[in-house]
């Protein structure tokens, strides 16, 4: 069952590759590399954990930090208001500090939950900034053809589900199969939105 997520990632990455012509000139072009990178990380994690029986949390820690920084960078390029851009910089710095402290004081082989939660919360705020920007422009009329809208929706929904799951998993004895089912559902939403975005997007609306 954990490989279903990897399969989803593979499908999304392939769709992103096929649809690349539609967004190659947009700020979203790096998502192609990012999706393949995500797939690679997951495969690496699976190989390390399930074949070599090595602790693979280090790989996921590295992925959490790099993916969050990638998202932050992307929002920095697409948000237009100066206040929003400044917020991205502040968020990135704070996130960097939290990640750095976790690196210093926590074992590399334990998943760094503070890093994840801080990044996720900041990212949700950024998706809201992006929605605010979309709502206040004429783009609201063609929003379903905009890749950036689908990416923001994907991220918002994923983390709206992920953060409670993260906390509730600590305080209830939910684990194993249950945890996997919910995680899989959230990933279906996340990659479902990505795929919809790549399939529906139109070249003329991704220029900026």
């Amino acid at each position: 069952m954990p490989y279903l997520v990897t399969l989803l990632e593979l499908i999304t990455a392939i769709i992103a590759l096929v649809a690349y012509a539609k967004y190659r000139h947009s700020k979203e072009k790096y998502f192609l590399i990012f999706l393949w990178y995500t797939l690679l990380i997951d495969v690496l994690g699976a190989v390390l954990g399930d074949i070599f029986y090595v602790n693979n949390n280090g790989v996921y820690n590295a992925y959490t930090i790099s993916s969050m920084l990638f998202y932050f960078y992307w929002y920095y390029t697409i948000l237009k208001k100066k206040v929003f851009k400044k917020a991205v910089i502040v968020f990135s710095l704070l996130f960097g500090v939290v990640a750095f402290i976790s690196l210093c004081f926590e074992n590399w082989n334990v998943y760094h939950s503070y890093t994840f939660v801080t990044g996720a919360l900041f990212l949700m705020v950024l998706t809201l900034f992006h929605f605010h920007q979309l709502l206040n422009s004429n783009e609201v009329l063609i929003v379903k053809h905009k890749l950036s809208f689908w990416i923001s929706t994907a991220l918002l929904l994923f983390y709206v589900g992920m953060i409670p799951l993260f906390f509730l998993a600590k305080y209830t004895n939910i684990m194993g199969l249950s945890y996997q089912i919910i995680l899989l559902s959230l990933n279906v939403i996340l990659y479902g939105c990505y795929m919809t975005g790549f399939l529906w997007t139109k070249k003329e609306y991704n220029r900026f």
């Binding site: 609201v140 009329l141 709206v160 249950s178």
Partner: protein, 252 residues
């Protein structure tokens, strides 16, 4: 999975499902509302634009009728009167018939010009420059003003509705010049560049104090119309130094 495990799974699952559903509904509702509002605003703007076009066309028609009435009275009427006098004199002296015939042919020429102006196609088929040329030729012919029109050759096609509104703005400015400025000269210059059209019209009349007259109907009308087509209109004037009208239109 034991009983407790299933229970906590259900709790966590429903909380997350609820959070997700709420987010989706909120997002959808907000985006939909905003979209509807925008569509409504766009429709209103479009309607306003249509109304403005109709009003502009009516005004141009009225202006044209007024011009025709002037021309009939001041120009053709005068010529015919002259011809009549010449023919009356011809009765006595026999010498002035050719003069009268010349006057009548001039009169016919004026009539032809006039009929061009009355033709309804004038309003729709002319380009901005052609319409301006006709207008300016009329000023020169009627000796209201000594008018010049300058434009560069690299023109681009404008939306006919936009052209109508621009023409009406200029016409309004010209009417003001003729009625109020006591000017003897009027210069109009159109500069087409890659994406903008710049129109400059200036007279050498008495001018006025912009700060006092800025609320005058004619001028505010011009400014409103500029706004509707998304152009910039500036009217500058000083007492005794003539009036300038500057219009910048960006072609989209």
């Amino acid at each position: 999975m034991d009983q407790e495990g299933i229970q906590s799974f259900l709790i966590v699952f429903s909380i997350i499902a609820f959070a997700l559903a709420l987010t989706v509904i909120l997002l959808f509702a907000i985006f939909q509302k905003r979209k509807n509002k925008l569509v409504r605003i766009q429709q209103e703007t479009e309607n306003k634009f249509k109304e403005e076009i109709i009003e502009t066309q009516i005004e141009i028609r009225e202006e044209t009728l007024r011009n025709i009435s002037w021309e009939l009275h001041d120009n053709i009427g005068q010529l015919l009167t002259l011809a009549k006098i010449q023919l009356n004199e011809a009765d006595e002296t026999c010498g002035n018939v050719s003069e009268a015939s010349e006057t009548i042919s001039e009169c016919l020429k004026e009539l032809r010009n006039l009929s061009k102006l009355i033709n309804p196609d004038t309003f729709t088929s002319l380009t901005l420059i052609e319409a301006l040329e006709m207008e300016i030729e009329r000023f020169n012919r009627m000796k209201y003003l000594e008018t010049t029109l300058e434009y560069n050759l690299e023109t681009f096609d404008l939306n006919t509705k936009v052209e109508t509104i621009i023409f009406r703005m200029l016409q309004e400015f010209f009417t003001n010049t003729i009625k109020h400025s006591k000017a003897t000269q009027l210069k109009v210059k159109l500069t087409y560049s890659e994406e903008t059209l710049e129109i400059k019209a200036e007279d050498n009349g008495v001018g006025f104090d912009v700060s006092q007259l800025s609320r005058g109907i004619g001028l505010s009308n011009i400014k409103n119309r500029a706004k509707i087509i998304g152009a910039d209109a500036i009217i500058e004037s000083k007492k005794g130094e003539g009036t300038q009208f500057l219009l910048t239109y960006k072609n989209k």
